[in-house]
Amino acid sequence: MLKIVTAVIGRDLKLAMRRQADIVSALFFFIIVVSLFPLGVGPEPDLLRKLAPGVLWVAALLATMLSLPRLFADDHRDGTLEQLALAPHPLGLVVTGKVIAHWLVSGLPLALIAPVLGIQFDLSADALLVLTGAILLGTPALSGIGAIGAALTLGLRGGGVLLSLLVLPLYIPVLIFGAGAVDATVTGLGGEGHLSLLAALTFASLGFAPWASAAALKIALE
């Protein structure tokens, strides 16, 4: 069971490494969006500190969205998705592998760069730590829920815009708890409660989303 998951992760990571431009552009999108906010609202440190959690999280949602359409589209176009669906394993496990690989190349880099961007917003060391932790904990849920949208919109006209319409409302709890964790740390309330809820969301969506995505993929492959 684990073998198929690791096989898919290995394959997708290798493909991502051969196409690093994709990873880098999503990352730069994140950096640019976050850096635009101080230019838009002004450089007062108090205001920026207050805005930081929300801005960083919204940018993280958008950056994740950016890479979602390609999650299944490339495999669909060249026929490998059919082969994946015909592998002698439940398709949900294959999708689990793809979701993990997607997180490794999209969510993980965001978490690693987030503290640097947090410094731009004058966040304290504590807040930076919680921010990194929250993005680490929350982005797998984004990849998982996003996979459902990517599978539902596979091969449709204007799939990218439609995908954001379907997925962004479902991202709201992650946004609330993710940004809330940082916010609570900044205001001195402690973000543990938020972080544990975020972890619960991630576990639930990683358990549930791959199977829903697999069902959607089967519909798309008919």
Binding site: I148, L152, T153, L156, R157, G158, G159, L162, L165, L166, L168, P169, L170, I172, P173, I176, F177, G180, A184, L201, F208, A212, A215, A216, I219, A220, E222
Partner: protein, 248 residues
Amino acid sequence: MKDRFNLYRYASPATFYPLAGRMIPYFAALSVLFGLAGLYLGMLVAPTDFQQGEGYRIIFIHVPASWMSMFIYLVMAFWAAIGLAFNTRLSGMMAQALAPTGALMAFLSLWTGALWGKPMWGAWWVWDARLTSELILLFLYIGFMALTAAIDDPKRADKAGGLLLLVGVVNVPIIYFSVKWWNTLHQGSSVNLTKSSMAQTMLWGMLLMALCFWMYSIAVALLRARTIMLERERHTDWVKAELAGVER
């Protein structure tokens, strides 16, 4: 085996189409009756609120619309589950027929909420937990309609839309509680439209209006379902016979 057969008989568009056609006028008439009675109670009989003045009377539209918007989403999810489990053609059509009405109810609820908010809170929009959840519900409706509209093959549209509805219905409580939590943390406005002590007549008015909206939703959903059926089954014999009858 016989039960199964009967179930499939009513689930078949050819039998459902005339049945729906016969039912629509009754639901429409009931909707008008309940609406008149509800508006009479709400606008004329119910006492003026000592805090909110006459402005509160918008709850006779607002609250039933909010109820219906949530209820219709559940009904759509129910149809979706049936459709995915038993592969019935009717389920997808019903879900699609209900969606615009659900979206309309969510929109009505938001609009009346804003109209009520201006005199009460002094702002058209307040990030109140209920209003925010209603807005997200509207997004979910729009997402469903956009997805089914983007898929050309009706069978795939039904299945994909159904799956989205099931995913949505699992997420709705999570979204609702997270928004509520977010709202209490940020100490947003917690003035409640319905919490103020409610007179008996107000409750009756609201219930009648809810019944009115309910009957209306059934009537228009059936009407829309009939149109979808004709469109999808235009090559079948029963639709051809039906259309020939109209021309004559």
